[in-house]
Every structure is written in structure tokens, then in C-alpha cells.
């Protein structure tokens, strides 16, 4: 007899019973096909990927993403410098929201994941794990690094007509930062931290 637990579909409310230790890698709602369970990767893998992402974020703060030359005049800008200009124009709120959604929320999500997973991996449950988990879940909707990445590509195409454009190293670092951030969040299944056996996961 397989142990089962009851859950409800968050999209249509139907009651479903799932095996307590899922055999399949994912389960979907029989009525509306919503994802009910997706197997996460071992915490060790996620920690390594999250650390890589964190390391890649450091150079992003100062490396130029674009370098533009118009008639001998020269300008280059990192992601944070670009937002500083928007703030200086008097649109502090735009600068703030862009910085949060495009850059800070992704990196905060990575930090929160590390704060949850590293202690679990080392064998004890952090006292504030519930709070950090709630913050992580709230941020999930608002991380927009991929939109920012496409925005850089659009800006590059727009600027090509204005002068000589060089793509700075910051752009390539940002691509790798986004990839590692994305893989980290996909690998992590939040339900894994609540299992009683999470400690030796």
C-alpha cells in the first residue's frame, strides 16, 4: 500500500490524492492539467548553481554592457549606471522598479535560496526558514531578468543607427547570470524543503 496525501489544485480547486513519495517526476491536475508536483534536483546541485549565479552578479555591477561612439565622443554604461541616469531625470520610481525587477529580485531570490538550502544540506533546519520561503515565493512573480536581457538586445539594435557600438563584457556576463539564475529556480522544488527527510536530501 502506497502512502498518499491529499492536496487541492490551486487553479480549479479539485481535491487530488498524490503519493507521499512520488514515483513519477511530475503530476498534473486531472481536471485542468495544472502542475501539481514537479520533482526538484538534489539540494547540492542547486547550491552549486546558485553560488555560480551569485559570483556572476558581482562583475555585473560595474562592467559596461554597451559602449557607444558618436563623432569621436564616447559613452559607456553598466546596468546600474543606466538606471542612475533615469533617476537623475526625475523618474526615481522607474529606476527603482527596473532595478528591483531586472536585477535585485533575481539576486535576492538566489540569496534566499542559499540561506534556506545551505543549512538544510549541512543538517539543520534554519529557524527563519518559513519567512525566507515566503519572501522567495512572493518574489517569484516579480523577477524579470529575462525581460531585461531582451531589452538590452532591443536597445543594441536601436543604438546601431546612432553611431559605432561596441557590446561590453557586461552583456555576456548578464547572459550567463540569467542562465544560472534560471536553472537554479527551475531545479528547486519548494515542496522538498518541507519533507521530514529534507535534512538528508
Amino acid at each position: 500500500m502506497i502512502e498518499r496525501k491529499e492536496t487541492a489544485c490551486r487553479d480549479c480547486g479539485v481535491i487530488v490524492s498524490l503519493p507521499l513519495h512520488p514515483a513519477s517526476s511530475q503530476y498534473r491536475c486531472p481536471r485542468c492539467n495544472a502542475l501539481l508536483y514537479r520533482r526538484g534536483q538534489p539540494f547540492g546541485y542547486i547550491i552549486v548553481m546558485a553560488l555560480t549565479s551569485l559570483v556572476l552578479f558581482v562583475p555585473l555591477t560595474f562592467l559596461p554592457i554597451l559602449d557607444l561612439n558618436i563623432m569621436g565622443l564616447h559613452a559607456s554604461s553598466s546596468l546600474f549606471e543606466a538606471l542612475w541616469m533615469v533617476y537623475r531625470d526625475g523618474y526615481g520610481f522607474i529606476a527603482f522598479v527596473s532595478m528591483m525587477t531586472g536585477l535585485l529580485i533575481p539576486v535576492l531570490m538566489i540569496l534566499l535560496l542559499l540561506m534556506i538550502l545551505v543549512p538544510l544540506k549541512m543538517g539543520y533546519r534554519p529557524t527563519r526558514v518559513a519567512l525566507w520561503f515566503r519572501l522567495y515565493e512572493k518574489m517569484r512573480e516579480w523577477g524579470m531578468a529575462e525581460v531585461y536581457l531582451v531589452a538590452i538586445v532591443v536597445a543594441i539594435i536601436k543604438l546601431l543607427g546612432m553611431g559605432t557600438l561596441h557590446i561590453g563584457p557586461g552583456f555576456f556576463v548578464f547572459i550567463f547570470f540569467f542562465l544560472t539564475y534560471y536553472i537554479t529556480t527551475v531545479w528547486f522544488n519548494p515542496e522538498d524543503i518541507w519533507f521530514d527527510d529534507a535534512l538528508d536530501h
Binding site: 480549479c12 485542468c32 543606466a82 522607474i94 532591443v154
Partner: protein, 216 residues
């Protein structure tokens, strides 16, 4: 097939950690989030946020997104001007991307939101599954409307050549960003389960009139 939902069973789901609770629980004992059977005030909140987003979309489309100041003079362009510029200059691909992200997606999202609200209001259970598919689409594409805001921020950041050429943020940017954020909040407050809940009432009515035929 008859589906048993959390309402009939007297259960409620924690939307954060997905633990199933009985109705006497108010705060999830596992992750500490407030627990409700359905998102409180979901319908009136979604209505008001969707209407507010429409108000912000008007200046967002009529005012300039960014102003290019150069020796040739000042050039202020709205979102649509930007799209037309790219279509005319042989960059149709980028024009279409901006059109989709900045004009099509905001209006599509709001149209879908109103449709979902009508499904709940008129108890169109037969359209609940279609509604849920549309809900998942707008949930997924919502953040892409921020694209133009990021583009403006980057352009403003890099094109700073004193008197030769300078780009300044336009007033439409703030209105557009407000519209995008408000529609994202509207999507988050809408509870798709409400579309399916109407079936419970339909089945109860059917139960009291046994001659009615089955639809599901």
C-alpha cells in the same frame, strides 16, 4: 465525471506551500502565510485594478516615452511612433517585438481579465477551462510588457552626449509602468478557482431537479 473540490470537502489550500488545511486554520502552520479558501475580495479587487490600468494606459499611449534632444532639435516619440519608425526603416522584427510587448500584450491582458470576470459573474462554467487557459497565458506574458521600460532606461543611460545627442525619459514611461504593474497585481488577485466553483451550484440545482441532463 463529478469532481470533488475543496469547498465541498471543507478544506483550504495554502497558496504558498500548498499544504491542505481544514477550515479552522487561519495561518499556515508550515510556512506561516495567511490561509483562505479563496483569495479574499478577489472579484472586486480585480475589477478595480483592471479599470485603473485602463486609466493609466491612456496617457501611456498618448504621451512621449522618451525625448531625443540633438543638434537637429527635439524629437519626442510615443510608443506607436517607435513601432512605426522601425517598420519604415526595414527593422520589421524589432518593430513587431515592441508592438507585441507594449501595445498588444497590455490590451490583450485587460481584455482577458474582463472576460474572466464575466465568466465568474455570469457563471459560465462551460467556459471555465478556456478561461483558465487564457489566465495562464496572461500570467506568463504579463512581465514582458516591462520590456519597453527597460529599453527606455538603457537608452537614457547610454545616450548622454551633452549638446550633440541626449535621450531623456518621457512622461509616458511612468504611466505605462504603472499600467503594467497594476495589471500584474490584477492577475495575481484574480482567483481562477472561482470560475470552476459555479459548477458546485449548478450541480446542487441539478440535484433538486433530477430530470436535468448531465453536461460534464
Amino acid at each position: 465525471m463529478r469532481w470533488i473540490t475543496d469547498i465541498e470537502r471543507g478544506r483550504q489550500l495554502c497558496l504558498h506551500c500548498r499544504k491542505l488545511h481544514t477550515l479552522d486554520v487561519h495561518v499556515c502552520d508550515r510556512c506561516g502565510s495567511p490561509v483562505h479558501q479563496r483569495i479574499p475580495h478577489s472579484i472586486p479587487l480585480t475589477w478595480s485594478l483592471a479599470l485603473a490600468a485602463i486609466v493609466f494606459l491612456i496617457p501611456a499611449n498618448l504621451l512621449p516615452m522618451m525625448v531625443v534632444q540633438s543638434i537637429a532639435g527635439e524629437d519626442a516619440g510615443t510608443i506607436m511612433d517607435g513601432v512605426i519608425y522601425f517598420l519604415e526603416h526595414g527593422e520589421a522584427g524589432i518593430g513587431i517585438v515592441i508592438f507585441l510587448a507594449s501595445i498588444f500584450i497590455p490590451f490583450f491582458k485587460l481584455t482577458v481579465l474582463f472576460y474572466l470576470l464575466l465568466i465568474v459573474h455570469f457563471k459560465w462554467y462551460a467556459r471555465a477551462k478556456l478561461g483558465l487557459k487564457l489566465f495562464r497565458i496572461i500570467h506568463f506574458i504579463g512581465k514582458w510588457s516591462m520590456l519597453d521600460i527597460f529599453v527606455v532606461a538603457l537608452m537614457v543611460g547610454i545616450v548622454q552626449f551633452k549638446h550633440l545627442a541626449t535621450i531623456v525619459t518621457g512622461p509616458a514611461a511612468i504611466a505605462f509602468m504603472m499600467a503594467v504593474l497594476i495589471t500584474m497585481f490584477a492577475t495575481e488577485t484574480f482567483d481562477p478557482r472561482l470560475m470552476f466553483d459555479t459548477l458546485i451550484k449548478l450541480q446542487e440545482e441539478k440535484h433538486s431537479h433530477p430530470q436535468g441532463s448531465s453536461h460534464d
